[in-house]
Amino acid sequence: MNDGPLIVQSDKTLLLEVDHERAADCRKAIAPFAELERSPEHVHTYRLTPLGLWNARAAGHDAEQVVDTLLDYSRYAVPHSLLVDVAETMARYGRLRLEKHPVHGLVLVSTDRPVLEEVLRAKKIKGMLGERIDDDTVAVHGSERGNLKQALLKLGWPAEDFAGYVDGEAHAISLDNSDWELRSYQREAAESFWHGGSGVVVLPCGAGKTLVGAAAMAHAQATTLILVTNTVSARQWKDELVRRTTLTEDEIGEYSGSVKEIRPVTIATYQVLTTRRGGVYKHLELLDARDWGLIVYDEVHLLPAPIFRMTADLQARRRIGLTATLVREDGREGDVFSLIGPKRYDAPWKDIESQGWIAPADCVEVRVTLPTDERLVYATAEPEERYRLASCTHQKLQVVRDLVAAHPGQPTLVIGQYIEQLDELAAALDAPVIKGETPVKERQRLFDAFRSGEIGLLVVSKVANFSIDLPSAEVAIQVSGSFGSRQEEAQRLGRLLRPKSEGKTAHFYTVVSRDTVDAEFAQNRQRFLAEQGYAYRIVDAEDLPA
């Protein structure tokens, strides 16, 4: 019997024993086609999904390679049905190809006529196609390139896009490498994106996704549109680009609620693009304002639905998506695949962490017991009120105070969901608070002060979840969240995972109320973090060192 590190289960999960001597090789071999589902301390679980297998196909792996890898590393015999399924799924990718035709423009070409026939008969697709050119070719309306890819993926016959890209308006951009260098994985990520044409790069928070974007721009040498989640993040992108590339401040425009500049490199927020007045997207013309050669999507997993629709019309331009996770709470991973592109690069968090690029984290869940009177209120409350009641208990105040006291001199963030609670905490801790209504300028000032060490403690609402670089934070205390969302957890942990001086360990505390929905949601979070491989402990508030 083979003594491999991998156990292939018939439910299409792969269990990788990490302490095995061949585990590292195996991980490298299966990473292209299997999605890492959880990575706790001993056994990592990967899953084979159609999207994962198609991603692998897009990256040039064939079914035989996948099957051989599974058989090579598998400890036990691999069920036949699984191998058949892998081969069949992978064979579905690329039977249909989108190509350029000298006469008919965009065409859909099939190497397998029955597939084409099946697809032609699908109701959803009929309207997107033009006349049948020959047995294997059918014309496609140029404007339907993205919609067609989306629809074909839903039918289970994802099309490979060979129709190419426009070059866009040339613009010289190069990296300014005078005092820094791209990390090896960043270079790999940018290169595999460039070779793939369009696609998504998956890197954990703090791993320097902005630089991957900059490197992609340097490859493209063309005008670039960057779409980000919010204004603060837009400013950060701008600063980073000015610092790391040959671009000057004048070449970079911001297109947001307050400023509307269109420059060779323009950074726009999702929000401004999705603003509607009278049912019309007001700022759509931005997309055509210039002949963009590259479009960068920051935080692809948060891409709002209208942007998907707009992206469907941008299929002729190169697109790079940057994200920490492909998991979308709305389950639209397939749209990312068909509209932005397949995954081009992925590195497991823990790997990058062990390379020293991001800080290790110690996760602790602190359980407080509700006092009797609050329990009574909780027990009689309406279900939708319960989470707020449980997570805003006054008991948490004392715990937060203790925790802050336990880490003197370490920059600390207190993160919460409910404004009242945050205000109360800020007052009690005598710390500034950043919430939705805080003006951008004020936010910027506080963040800068925190970064420079002027302020050691900051209370923030969920506005800080995304794309704000607070590399100095060493301690985060979470008092409430949005119902245990996995994605939010990834983002919040990400605040702490930026490289630290002297390789310090970051601390991530979650304060929850025992025996309430708060604790139930905490379980999702706990599971997520443990699955990501972080040490996780649960302590009772009474047991905390005072």
Binding site: V8, T13, P40, H42, A77, P79, H80, V84, Q526, A530
Partner: protein, 757 residues
Amino acid sequence: MAEGFRSLADQLRSWPDERLSLLLTERPDLASPAPHDSGQLASRAATRASLQRALDQLSRLELTVLDAVVVSGHTSPEVLTTRVKAEPSVVAAALERLVSMALVWESSAGLRPLTGVAEALVGGPEAGVSGLRPCSSPEPTRREVEARLAELSAPARAMLDHVEAHGGEATTGGRHTVLPADAATPAEELLSRRLLTPRGSGTVVVPGEVGIALRGGHTTREPADDVPALATTERGEDRVDGVAAGTAFETVRRLELLLDHWGAQPPSALRSGGLGVRDLRASAAWLQVDEPTLALLVETAQAAGLLSTAADEAGDPAWLPTDLLDSWVLRSPAERWVGLIRAWLGSPRMPGLVGGRDPAGKVWNALSPDLSGVHMVETRAMTLAALAGLTPGECLASGTGLPSVVTLLRWQRPRRPRTRAEQVAWTLTEAAALGVTGLDGLASYARLLLDGDDERATKALAALLPEPVDHVLLQADLTAVAPGPLESQLARRLQVVAEVESRGAATTYRFTPASVRRALDTGWTAVELHDFLGEVSRTPVPQPLSYLVDDTARTFGSVRVGAAEAFLRADDEAALTELLHHPKAGSLGLRRLAPTVLISTVPLDVLLPRLRELGAAPVVEAADGTVHVVRPDQRRARTPREHRGRAAETRRVLATASVVTAIRSGDRAASSRPAGTGALSPSGSLAALREAAETGTPVLIAYVDNHGTRTERIVDPVSVEGGVLTAHDHRSDDVRTFAVHRITTVGPAGGPVGGGP
């Protein structure tokens, strides 16, 4: 064979018992009911139905040889060997088989086909039929034929070639009897040289010897021993075994899971006996397999006697695992698999049809009685035999592999029905799904199984299956991974304290508050749980898991003992107080013993339902302190009779032997009868007529015609079929038919007609 026999019956009489047994094994239809004597055996062998069955079992080569025998008429094995375009040794072997199947026998004049063979040989070249007419008698030598051919003019030769290529028959209006010198037309040229022979009413045919000469001295132009090759690729023996063993393990595991599930929640049986589509779909989803796989699993289980119908609680028929299951699960996975595959090999069932529709548009249900096919077992065996013929590690090529198997099987049994291709495809799919093959190559252990060596097959498979492990890996995300199949005791205990999340060779368990509470429910204490986890884990117990156990135990409650009719205890004083003061609780005789304990003066069986009525949810503690847990009963059906033991094969062997003995004693009785008396039974007269047809000897029959007139005539029987004797009647010098039931006596011509029955 130098002197030859007078008839087939004669030849059968001369055969040793072993050879007779072989005949009865090859053509089992001859043995039931047991024939009286060799005469009846020979006559039965020549009936059309039996002939068809025998011919259906022949390969294309054997059919070609048989066809050559028919074309040649009486001929020697040596001549025959040269006439079939194949290796002489191969032809000899084929001929040997034909003789042992009593399709060809050795007369004094040479090899002869059994009467009726010529008519039964139908089809084209793919069925081994050359389409040649019988050779003329007496047959000219090959040299003579070639000399005549050489004399032909070009148009005559072209005409002959054309006729030969288009069925060997033509019509001509010209003279039929001419001398070579007088021949005016190409047709006359051919007729005069007997290269075409007249067949009456203007029809002419190419005689066999001419056809053979035109085909280069053989009955066929194509070689007859050109066995189609399988399209294969090399995948490596280890790979094949690995994939197949993985599937084999899955099959056994899944079947056990499914049958356990059905034991608790049996699906109902349809009135027609099958399994409903909805149940099939639900079970497939439950087991996480596709519907065809589920159909195959349940069909195999039924074939192995693990599944049967019985009445459920409501008295309606339901599909239930049989009591055989309980002993089956105790065996090793390899043993279980071998048992399943034995059953599958012998099963005529066609689960591949499930989900499709019959010609009437009705959906085929799994386990439905109509789902059997007569040729399925044979096709399955032949398909697997074809795979077994490959070297280990050689697999069917994807795409072209399946058609090549179909082609090979069509060569091996050209006369079989057209549905064969479908059945071959099913066999390959099923073999792959059950773990008989991997990557479309036969697994090494399956090879042993096909050779009939179950014991070594079991051992070989067991060596490929994962070894049981005695530990798990505990992780901070509250999962436990058993990196292989767990020892069954351990598996059972883990299943109590954790939920199974993913199954396969390894198992992933997840600890949840509910699962820990369930463990506490069944009598575990927190300390025991900690000890158990520490003991089975190879890694330190993660803190969140310890915390989970403690946290759950905290809310659970500690053990108390009561000494009254019954006691009630709870950590919740208020709940007890509430019960104590409940207006309807007066009759229960509740008394508070301690803040958290009540006792009752009412026995348990009365107390329990009353408490439930009051809205409490009590659990019962047994005398030894354990908590009773209500578990749905596992139900079993009786194992159908035929699956108790494998005596069928032995019975068949014994039966053949007894038939041989019966025939022998019949022969002795016949020979001890005084010769010539010929008191013939109806079956005896049939045998006599058949024998006469074969030997071509005239017989004297007494015949009663439509008017009741009894006449005696000497006839040359041609064939006996369907109750009608076709014979050349000497009296009218014509071929006539006689209803056999009107023939009162049969006797040798020249001798006295024997007295009728």
